[in-house]
C-alpha cells in the first residue's frame, strides 16, 4: 500500500514532506510525489495535509479537526483554561516540540511573547498597542509572560504607556544612533535583545518599518518569519503559534507554523487586532540594555525626512470611509461621493478600477494592491466587490454597499446592501445625513 | 534594419503553420504577434480537426495539449422548450487517427508556437504591425509600433485574423461589413469529468459536440454549440453581427438565452463559469474572399475569410492555407522571384485543395439565409410541432395524425413556400 496523492488538490506546500518519518515524499514540480518503495503507510502526511490531497487507499480518511481560524483573536481571558493549557501550566509533558527546537544562540529556554513597539518621529504606531492586546491572549494561552521592546532615542515617555497597555516587562535600548529609523542599527539592537533573552514569539506591526526590520532580524537569527498576519492563535497541543495570513493576493488564507526554530516571528497588519484597554499607572519590570555599536559600524545615514500630509496617508486609520468603484461611470460623478464624504467627515477611497480610471490617486486604493482598511463604517458606492477589493476592507466594522446589481459580491459582505441606482440613492443618503448632523459631526 | 526571408503577421494557427512550413524549408522566419504570446488573443469554439493539424505537425496528438477526442456529434433543433435531436457516434474516432479534438486555444496555440520555435522561427510578441513597407510598388517588409521598428522581408504573409487592418491598408481586402461577420460569445463552465461523461454518455476521456439550431439563436442567423472538454464544457452561440445591431442585443444576451433552454440547462447544471470569451468570425464566404496575393504578399486564414460556417470548420482551413503559403514563399524566394505571378501559385494550390472547393460549393449559402430569414424561425418550430403530434399518444389513429401534420405544416408555411425553400437549400448546400 502507498499513500495516494490527488494532484488536483495538492498545493505543493510541502507539509507532508516534512512530516514523513521515512522520507518517502518529495515535491516535484510543485506537487507531492510518493516513493512507493519507501512509503510505510504511517499516515502522518495524510493528517498534516491542509487540503486533504493525500489518502491511504482502503482506509477511510480520518475526519480532520478543523482549526478555528479565529482561535487566538477570539480567545477570552476570562474563559476557563482548556485542559491542554492546564497540562502545560502543571509542567506536564506537552513540551516535546519545544525540546526539539534548535537553539540559535546558546541556551534552550525560549520563553515569552515579545512585542516590538514602533516609535518613530515622536509617535508610537498604534498597531504596537494592538499587538500587546493580542500578545496578552497568546501569552495566556501558552502560560508565559508578555514583554514590550522599545528601541530608539529619548523613549522614556513610551515606557509607562507600554505598561499601561499590558506589558509585564519592557526591554529598552536608548541611544542617539537609534534616533532615526534605519534598518542596520535597529536590526542589530533588536537582534541582540532576542539573542540574550530568548523569547519564543516576537511580534511587530506590518508597517513599512516592521516589514523592513523583521526580515533582516529573521535572517540574522536564521528563523522563520510570517508577514502580514491577520489572525494569530496558539495550537493547544503543540503550543505553536498559528500564523494566519492572506496569500495569493488575498484569494486564500493560509495558516503557517514555524515548527523547528526559535523565535517564531510574525508581523501583523495594523487595525486587525482589537485595541486593548489602557490601564494607566500599571507597572512592570524595566530592563535597560546598552547599545554597543557606534556610528562607524553602519553604512547608511538619514539625510532628511519629509512629512507628507496627504489625506490618503491616513487611509488605514480613517474612521469612516466613502469608497467608489467603476459604477460611478465618470470622474465628474465623483462629486456625489465627495459630498457624502464631506457631510460625514469621511475619507475618500476607491477600488482599483476607480484608481486606474484616474479618478483617485494610487495611495487611495483599497484592496490587495492598495491599502487595507478597517474603519468603523465603510460605504461602498458602485463597487462590485472583486475579491482583491474585499480583502482590503471586509474587516471593517460596518459595511454599507450601494450597487444596482443585487447579485454583486459586495452585497454579500455588506451589513446593509442597498440595491438600486446610486445616482439617486447617494444624494438621498447625503440629504438625510445632513438633516441629522446639522448640530454636530458624525462620530 | 534586420532582414528576414519571411515575416508573418499574427501568431494564430494560420500564421504559425505558415511559419513552420517556411522555416522547415530553410527560410529565416519571424512571427509578429499582438498578444503576450501566441494564443492569448485567440478564440474559437474549440474544435481542432486532426487531418489539417497532422499535415503541419505530424502526430501532434501525442504531445499537444488536447482536451477530448470527439466521438459523437449531435444536432439539435430547438423550439421554445421543445427539441429534436439527431446524432452520429463512432467510437473509432476515439482512437488514432482521430477526427477532431476539443482544445483550449490559449494552451494549444502556445504549444504550436513552441513547435514553430523548434523549427527555428523567431516569435516577437506584444508587437503590433502598423503597415507594410514599400520600395516603389514592391513590399519589402513591415513597420511595427515599436521604436526602431522596421523589419525587412522578401515575403510577408498576412495572418492577422478576422480584423483585417493590414490587408485593407494593402488594398487586398475590404473592411469588414456587419453582415459578413458573426459575433460569438462563449463560456467555459467547469464540471467534474465524471459528470460530463455521464451527461453525454461517454467513455472515460472521450468527447462529444452538439450544434443547436432554431431558438438557440433567437431566430438570428447563426448557431449555438456545446463542446466537452476534460473538466469543463464550452458553450457558445454565434450569429451574424447585423441583427445584433438591429435588435440592440449583446452576444451575452444570446448566450444567456441559450443557457436558459431546458435541454441545455440540464447539461450545465451545477457547473461554475470559469471564463467568458467573445470573438468575431468571418462569415463572408466565397464571394467575399479578398485578393489572396500580390507581389511579396499572401493572405491566409481568417483574414482571407477562409471559413466554412456550415460545417463550422475554420482552424483547419487556416492551417492548410498557412502551410501552403509558407511553402510557396520558400519556393519563390529560392527561385528569386516574389512577383505577383509567383505568389499566385498559392491561390492555385488553394483552389485545388478542399479549402476553396468547399467555400465555392457553399457560395450561395450566405445569400440563401440572408434572403430567407424565416428559415431558422419557421422550420425548427414546424419540425418540433410535427414530432410532438406524431409522438403524442392520445388515441388518434396514426393515419389521421399524419394528415393533420401535413395540414399543420402547410398552415405554417405555404406549399409553394416549402418547395421554394427546399429548392433553395438544395442549390445552396448540395
Amino acid at each position: 500500500m502507498t499513500v495516494a496523492v490527488d494532484k488536483t488538490k495538492c498545493i505543493g506546500c510541502g507539509a507532508c514532506v516534512v512530516e514523513c518519518p521515512v522520507e518517502a515524499l518529495d515535491l516535484i514540480d510543485g506537487l507531492a510525489v510518493v516513493d512507493p518503495s519507501k512509503c510505510e503507510d504511517h499516515g502522518k502526511c495524510v493528517l498534516v495535509c491542509p487540503t486533504n490531497a493525500l489518502a491511504i487507499p482502503n482506509q477511510s480518511p480520518k475526519a480532520k479537526e478543523e482549526l478555528d481560524p479565529k482561535a487566538g483573536s477570539e480567545f477570552n481571558i476570562n474563559d476557563p483554561q482548556p485542559d491542554a493549557i492546564k497540562d502545560y501550566a502543571q509542567d506536564n509533558d506537552k513540551k516535546t516540540i519545544r525540546a526539539q527546537v534548535t537553539p540559535v544562540a546558546g541556551g534552550d529556554v525560549w520563553s515569552g511573547v515579545w512585542v516590538i513597539i514602533e516609535y518613530t518621529n515622536g509617535k508610537v504606531a498604534p498597531v504596537s498597542w494592538e499587538l500587546l492586546g493580542e500578545g496578552r491572549k497568546l501569552a495566556d494561552a501558552i502560560g508565559c509572560g508578555l514583554s514590550g521592546v522599545i528601541t530608539g532615542h529619548q523613549i522614556d515617555s513610551v515606557i509607562p504607556e507600554a505598561f499601561a497597555y499590558g506589558a509585564e516587562k519592557v526591554y529598552v535600548i536608548d541611544n542617539p544612533i537609534l534616533k532615526d529609523y534605519r534598518t542596520e542599527p535597529y536590526a542589530e539592537a533588536i537582534t541582540s535583545l532576542v539573542q540574550k533573552y530568548q523569547p519564543e514569539i516576537v511580534l511587530m506591526g506590518a508597517t513599512s518599518m516592521g516589514r523592513d526590520v523583521f526580515p533582516a532580524i529573521a535572517t540574522k537569527l536564521q528563523t522563520g518569519l510570517t508577514a502580514d498576519c491577520t489572525v494569530l492563535g496558539i495550537d493547544p497541543e503543540t503550543k505553536l503559534l498559528q500564523q494566519t495570513r492572506p496569500a495569493f493576493g488575498g484569494n486564500i488564507m493560509a495558516t503557517i507554523l514555524c515548527r523547528t526554530r526559535r523565535p517564531q516571528m510574525a508581523t501583523v497588519r495594523p487595525r486587525v487586532m482589537a485595541m486593548p484597554e489602557r490601564v494607566d499607572g500599571r507597572e512592570g519590570e524595566l530592563i535597560q540594555e546598552e547599545f554597543t555599536l557606534s556610528e562607524s559600524d553602519f553604512r547608511t545615514k538619514v539625510l532628511e525626512f519629509i512629512n507628507t500630509d496627504a489625506k490618503s496617508a491616513f487611509l488605514d486609520k480613517a474612521e469612516i470611509i466613502v469608497a467608489v468603484g467603476l459604477g460611478l461611470a465618470a470622474k465628474r460623478n465623483m462629486a456625489i461621493a465627495e459630498e457624502l464624504a464631506d457631510v460625514l467627515g469621511a475619507t475618500l477611497a476607491g477600488s482599483r478600477g476607480a484608481v486606474e480610471a484616474g479618478w483617485l490617486n494610487h495611495d487611495q486604493q483599497v484592496g490587495q494592491s492598495g491599502v487595507t482598511v478597517r474603519p468603523k463604517v465603510y460605504i461602498a458606492i458602485g463597487i462590485s466587490g472583486a475579491i482583491q477589493h474585499l480583502v482590503g476592507m471586509e474587516t471593517s466594522d460596518f459595511i454599507i454597499a450601494i450597487n444596482n446589481d443585487p447579485e454583486a459580491a459586495i452585497h454579500k459582505v455588506a451589513n446593509y446592501g442597498i440595491v438600486g441606482d446610486l445616482f439617486q440613492i447617494v444624494p438621498a443618503l447625503t440629504a438625510e445625513f445632513k438633516k441629522r448632523l446639522q448640530h454636530g459631526v458624525a462620530n | 534594419m534586420e532582414n528576414f526571408d519571411v515575416i508573418i503577421i499574427g501568431g494564430g494557427p494560420a500564421g504559425l503553420s505558415a511559419a513552420i512550413s517556411a522555416a522547415q524549408a530553410g527560410m529565416k522566419t519571424v512571427v509578429i504577434e499582438r498578444g503576450d504570446y501566441p494564443g492569448t488573443k485567440n478564440v474559437m469554439g474549440g474544435i481542432l480537426y486532426t487531418k489539417a493539424t497532422d499535415m503541419v505537425v505530424p502526430e501532434f496528438w501525442k504531445e499537444a495539449p488536447l482536451e477530448r477526442p470527439i466521438i459523437e456529434q449531435r444536432i439539435a433543433m430547438l423550439s421554445g422548450d421543445e427539441s429534436i435531436m439527431a446524432g452520429y457516434r463512432d467510437p473509432a474516432w476515439g482512437t488514432e487517427p482521430y477526427n477532431a479534438h476539443s482544445i483550449f486555444r490559449v494552451k494549444f496555440d502556445r504549444w504550436l508556437a513552441q513547435q514553430a520555435e523548434k523549427a527555428g522561427v523567431m516569435i516577437i510578441p506584444e508587437t503590433i504591425v502598423e503597415d507594410l513597407l514599400y520600395k516603389g510598388d514592391d513590399v519589402v517588409g513591415v513597420r511595427t509600433g515599436r521604436a526602431e521598428g522596421d523589419l525587412g522581408a522578401k515575403v510577408v504573409i498576412i495572418a492577422e485574423g478576422v480584423n483585417n487592418f493590414i490587408a485593407v491598408k494593402a488594398g487586398l481586402a475590404k473592411p469588414l461589413r456587419p453582415e459578413s461577420v458573426a459575433v460569438t460569445a462563449k463560456e467555459v463552465i467547469a464540471l467534474p469529468k465524471e459528470k460530463i461523461e455521464d451527461r453525454f454518455c461517454l467513455e472515460e476521456g472521450q468527447g462529444a459536440t452538439i450544434e443547436l439550431y432554431g431558438d438557440s439563436t433567437a431566430g438570428m442567423m447563426g448557431v449555438g454549440f456545446i463542446y466537452t472538454n476534460k473538466e469543463s464544457i464550452s458553450i457558445g452561440v454565434g450569429a451574424i453581427l447585423q441583427p445584433f445591431i438591429r435588435n440592440n442585443w449583446t452576444p451575452n444576451d444570446l448566450l444567456e438565452n441559450l443557457k436558459s433552454k431546458p435541454y441545455v440547462k440540464r447539461l450545465l447544471q451545477g457547473g461554475e463559469i470559469k471564463e467568458y470569451l467573445s470573438h468575431l468570425i468571418p462569415e463572408g464566404g466565397y464571394t467575399q474572399v479578398p485578393k489572396l496575393h500580390r507581389q511579396g504578399v499572401m493572405v491566409v486564414g481568417d483574414t482571407a475569410m477562409l471559413m466554412n460556417s456550415l460545417n463550422r470548420e475554420g482552424s483547419n482551413l487556416a492551417m492548410i492555407s498557412g502551410k501552403i503559403a509558407g511553402e510557396v514563399a520558400a519556393q519563390a524566394i529560392k527561385a528569386g522571384d516574389v512577383s505577383d505571378h509567383a505568389m499566385s501559385v498559392y491561390e492555385t494550390r488553394l483552389r485545388d485543395s478542399f479549402v476553396l472547393k468547399d467555400l465555392h460549393h457553399y457560395r450561395h449559402m450566405g445569400k440563401f439565409f440572408e434572403e430567407k430569414p424565416h428559415l431558422l424561425k419557421v422550420y425548427p418550430k414546424l419540425f418540433n410541432k410535427a414530432a410532438k403530434m406524431y409522438l403524442t399518444a392520445d388515441g388518434t389513429p396514426k393515419k389521421e395524425r399524419q394528415k393533420e401534420i401535413i395540414k399543420m405544416a402547410f398552415e405554417n408555411r405555404s406549399k409553394g413556400g416549402i418547395i421554394k425553400d427546399i429548392y433553395g437549400a438544395w442549390r445552396a448546400l448540395l
Binding site: 498545493i11 490531497a53 482549526l67 529609523y181 533582516a216 522563520g224 480583502v391 459582505v413 442597498i418 462620530n443 | -
Partner: protein
C-alpha cells in the same frame, strides 16, 4: 556600474481562486507574469546603466518555465539572465529562497563586484517582502526598502527616497547596496524592436543545485523554518440586510440613515459644531 536585478515569475493573482466547496486552489489557466514590482526595479537598473554605463544581470529562482519571464525581462535591454532552477530548491520559504539567491549573487560578486541590487518591494503571490532584505543581510549589503526615487548614484553611494506611512525618508547608503522598490519609482518602458529580437533569441543561463556549493540543509523544505499547515477560503460575512431601493430611493435612504443612528453605528458628536471637516 554592475547592477543585479532579482526577479520572480508569479501567477497573476487577480486570476487565482479557491474553490469554496473543495477548498482547493484553482490554478488552471492562470497566466504567469513578471512580478510587477520587480519590473520597476529592472527598469531603474536599465535607466541607470544607460546613464552611467555598466551591466545589468537578472537573477531569478523558479521552475524551468520561469525562463519565459526572464526572456521577457531581457526585452528591457538587460545583458544577462540567470535562472536558478532545481528540484532541490522546491518548497523553499523566504529564508531559504534568500539563501539560494544570495549564493548566486555572491558568485557574481566574486568575479564582477556588484554595485547595486534591485528587487521588488514584495511578490504579489506571497506578499511577504522578505526575500530582498534576506539577500541583503546575507551579502552584508545595506538594504533600502520601499524606494520610490533614486536621487543620486555615485561611485560609492546611493541616495534614495523611501516611502513610509508618515512621509518620505531620504537615506544614503554606501555601495554595494540593495534596494526594494515601489511602482512609483518609474514608468516601464516599451521595448524597442531590436531589444525584442535580442530577447527572443536569448537563452537564459540555468544554474542548478550543483552549479554552486550549496548547503542542502539551508534550502528547499529542509532549509525552510515555516510551513503551511492549512489553507482555506477567506470567511464571508453573514447576516447582511438587503434594501431594495429600485422603486423609492428617497424613502429607503431615510430608513437606512434612521437605522444607522438608532443602532449607534453613526452618532452625532455634539462637541464639534458644523458637519464639515
Amino acid at each position: 556600474m554592475n547592477f543585479v536585478v532579482c526577479l520572480k515569475q508569479v501567477p497573476d493573482t487577480s486570476e487565482v481562486r479557491i474553490d469554496p466547496v473543495t477548498n482547493t486552489l484553482m490554478r488552471e489557466g492562470v497566466p504567469s507574469i513578471i512580478n510587477p514590482y520587480d519590473a520597476h526595479g529592472l527598469e531603474e537598473a536599465i535607466r541607470l546603466k544607460e546613464k552611467m554605463g555598466g551591466k545589468v544581470t537578472i537573477v531569478s529562482m523558479g521552475p524551468p518555465q520561469a525562463k519565459e519571464a526572464l526572456k521577457k525581462a531581457m526585452t528591457y535591454g538587460a545583458d544577462r539572465a540567470i535562472l536558478l532552477s532545481d528540484r532541490a530548491f522546491g518548497g523553499s520559504d523566504s529564508l531559504a529562497t534568500a539563501y539560494i539567491l544570495s549564493m548566486a549573487l555572491q558568485k557574481i560578486h566574486e568575479t564582477e563586484p556588484i554595485d547595486l541590487v534591485f528587487a521588488g518591494k514584495e511578490a504579489i503571490d506571497g506578499d511577504t517582502a522578505q526575500t530582498g532584505p534576506g539577500i541583503a543581510q546575507r551579502l552584508g549589503f545595506p538594504q533600502l526598502t520601499y524606494a520610490i526615487k533614486v536621487r543620486e548614484l555615485t561611485d560609492t553611494t546611493v541616495t534614495v527616497e523611501r516611502k513610509t506611512e508618515s512621509g518620505r525618508q531620504i537615506v544614503q547608503a554606501q555601495l554595494p547596496a540593495l534596494l526594494t522598490v515601489e511602482k512609483e519609482l518609474n514608468d516601464l518602458r516599451y521595448a524597442s524592436l531590436p531589444n525584442m529580437m535580442k530577447a527572443a533569441a536569448y537563452e537564459p543561463e540555468v544554474w542548478d543545485a550543483k552549479t554552486l556549493p550549496f548547503d542542502v540543509k539551508q534550502m528547499g523544505l529542509k532549509g525552510s523554518p515555516t510551513s503551511v499547515s492549512r489553507i482555506f477560503a477567506p470567511p464571508g460575512r453573514s447576516g447582511g440586510e438587503i434594501f431594495d431601493a429600485t422603486k423609492d430611493p428617497a424613502s429607503i435612504a431615510a430608513t437606512v440613515v434612521q437605522k444607522l443612528f438608532q443602532s449607534n453605528i453613526i452618532m452625532v458628536n455634539p462637541l464639534a459644531k458644523g458637519g464639515k471637516r
